[in-house]
Amino acid sequence: MSTMPAVRITAVEKRFGAVRANQGAALEVMPGEIHALVGENGAGKSTLMKILSGMLRPDAGTIEVGGRDVTGWSTAQAIAAGVGMVHQHFMLVPTLTVAENVVLGREPVSVGTFDGARARLEVEELSAQSGLVVPADRLVADLSVGEAQRVEILKTLYRGARILLLDEPTAVLSPPEVAELWKVLRRLRDGGATIILITHKLDEVMAVTDRITVMRQGATVERMATRSTTPEGIAKAMVGRDIALGGGPRTETRAVGAPALIVRDLAVAGARVARAVDGISFELRAGEILGIAGVEGNGQTELLDAIAGLRRTSSGSIRIGDRDLLALDVRGRGLAGLSHIPEDRHKRGLILDYSIADNLILGQQHAFTRNGVLDRAAIDAHAADRIAAFDIRPTDATLPARALSGGNQQKIVIAREMARDFSVLLAAQPTRGVDVGAIEFIHAQLRAARDAGKAVLLVSAELREVLELSDRVAVMYGGRIVTIRERHACSEEILGPFMTGAAREAA
């Protein structure tokens, strides 16, 4: 092809102190394509996009847009040249209407005052053109997440963007909303827009993109056409070695044991709602993984906190075997056989300033104490054992947890929780913010626990993960379980409507 690339980035370098975020980063995007920029967390994708959109200046290298050297330009210049970033975290004013948000900063004016009618007209026109359906008159505060994202994209388009950068746009969307987004992106592409999609979800890459650029440790390591590669091929390029991506849905039925965790009519108040968990009952049996799917914020956090003893319940009961958990405190529940991988390792799962060794006894500090005095020898031996068994790196147990990568931090949590004498494991978002290699390892650990006869309750915002690991799947919506079914009776298409609240059945 002789067409000039829409974007050409060559040999970009960017340092933050001692950290080298980009080194030898390159990107070439042709006009009118959807281009995936993939890589593990910390591979330098976001830094590169910030450089392209003018938020950061590169230390070295060149940026060309439409054949023009624009290295080191400002955000204003980037917007003027038609490069627009759609942020992962929405930057909308909740108390303004959709139309007002879209035109914010470039308001149409008549006789020196804001022309609301014209703003509305222009937004509706743009909406029709792009296929981004939004209610122009509604307040942004009242929108769903998917709608808010469409507003964010519209805003970028309204400013005349022809090159759209989208940073992890599906992180907050339910499957139907994701499908809708793909439709919009394809339509924009067909209309001549160039789209760069930052993601680490390989199915998305396969579903919607034309070409792929893979980054690893700040450098661009591979470019490929989507048509001629496989998820395994991309994963290998991302991590630098072979990766086994989930074996697909399991088919064999296995013997499950007696109910290990029994939840009855549980209601829990949330921070803002009176009933974040609104009457939930289920049984979790020994030797199974029960996956809870659902868009985040539908009561999953409150449910797990309540089981773990971190949140007061309003009514209902929680039992392990025949022991009433509600009568026990957090420590008592641990002794009763509960193990808990919390959803937020930075807030709950780790004390970031504690050493790896000290973090490996968090929650089990009583077991490493004699007459109230910490047993250093036992703690150090425990640390050495866990670090070796779970391949935690670096291996120096005196380092603070803060110094480790996300994957290794999560390994500390999992290594610790697996060391308990437990019968029920709560695993909340166990692979969030973790690189592909560690995901594989963590999944293997969860399966091993199940195979050892433990009962595992998995909560994940990644539907794929739930489908890959679970023996049974429940979907939570609005604080209730709207469906609970065997794995073989599930697929993304079947569960999608439940996740958005479009369907429900008595659980």
Binding site: L310, V330, R348, I351, L352, Y354, D358
Partner: protein, 354 residues
């Protein structure tokens, strides 16, 4: 031992900010001295000679550092648990009065060891009781400890004030009668060079307290849990720690440590409780804890530093006004405070409006 390998590094990291603060203070001090028309070299020499340069001065530094170590520990321990204890002033005063009351009540024939032990225990209880109030209010009702401890200072100091002046004072003075039992010997009784200085045996009791706090903080489960609560209360809760209970305990122990400081004046120096003897040592304890990076050893070093400034300020008072020393204190506190992670975290948290 997990932390021994890199203690040198840790120390360098922890000490660099206070050292820079000291450097800034020295230069600011130079400028102030020059502005006052004096020679920095002479003034600093007088300051050093008047403190570490002779036994009497050094004894005074030790005496002042003893009280400051107690209040510094009180603040540091609560900060380790994530609480800002502004109440050391009241806790110190209450500890002093409690010790004096026991010393007054015991017959003069009580053996020193028993009398001193009882009076010291009373000081711990007195300070601990004052500390318990904000701790309990915090864990029970979520009342903000900064506000409660500040208000409690006023209440406690006014009550003590009233109690002593209305019930217990020697006419035409602000102090109680002399205690009959439990007076601690001064250092000068063993080393005559210290003659006249107020340094006394409570120094050793406080040294023991420093060692115990150090050990408890880093070697026991209670310390492990307390530090966890201070760093990440949510994670501590996840680990089965009763956060509210730890808060209450930290405030009680902190209060008791501040109260312990009371024996330095009451049992060791004057032999009576005098209204206002705390003289800001409780508030200065906040600075001591910050500059000492909330580490018991750091607290001792910082207490010695501030004690040196205070005694040295007296020695150079003839040539430069005492406000210079106060400015130096302020400079050190500001420079260090800005660099202490605990302070930054607490500021962030209050911005978030927890």
């Amino acid at each position: 031992m997990s932390s021994r390998a890199s203690w040198r590094e840790t120390f360098a990291e922890e000490a660099i900010a206070p050292l820079v603060a000291l450097g800034i203070a020295l230069v600011v001090g130079d400028l102030l001295i020059l502005a006052y028309g004096q020679a920095p070299g002479d003034v600093w020499r007088t300051l050093v000679e008047g403190t570490w340069g002779n036994a009497y001065g050094f004894g005074q530094v030790l005496y002042k550092a003893t009280t400051l170590t107690c209040t510094g520990l009180a603040v540091a321990l609560s900060l380790r648990a994530g609480l800002f204890n502004i109440g050391a002033e009241g806790q110190l005063a209450m500890g002093g009065l409690a010790a004096a009351l026991v010393g007054l009540a015991l017959p003069a024939s009580t053996p020193l060891a028993i009398a001193a032990a009882l009076a010291t225990f009373a000081a711990l209880v007195g300070g601990g009781a004052v500390g318990a109030v904000p701790g309990w209010l915090k864990s029970r009702f979520g009342a903000h400890e900064v506000i409660v401890t500040i208000m409690l200072n006023f209440i406690v100091l006014a009550l003590l004030n009233w109690f002593v002046s209305a019930r217990l004072h020697v006419p035409e003075t602000l102090h109680t009668p002399s205690i009959r039992a439990g007076a601690l010997p001064r250092i000068a009784e063993w080393f005559s060079a210290f003659h006249g200085s107020a340094a006394n045996a409570s120094l050793f009791l406080v040294a023991v307290a420093v060692a115990v706090v150090s050990w408890a903080l880093f070697r026991t489960r209670a310390g492990y849990e307390l530090r966890a609560v201070g760093l990440q209360p949510d994670a501590a809760e996840y680990a089965g720690v009763k956060v509210g209970r730890v808060w209450t305990r930290a405030m009680i122990v902190g209060g008791a440590l501040a109260g312990l400081g009371g024996i330095n004046f009451v049992l060791g120096y004057k032999g009576y409780y005098e209204d206002g003897f705390s003289g800001g040592a409780g508030f200065l304890g906040i600075a001591v804890a910050l500059v000492g990076r909330n580490h018991p050893v750091g607290v001792v070093l910082a207490a010695l530093f501030f004690a040196t400034l205070s005694q040295g300020g007296l020695a150079i008072n003839a040539t430069v006004p005492k406000q210079m020393v106060e400015v130096l204190q302020g400079v050190v506190i500001l420079a260090v405070a800005a660099s202490v992670p605990e302070v930054r975290r607490i500021l962030r948290q209050s911005v978030r409006g927890r």
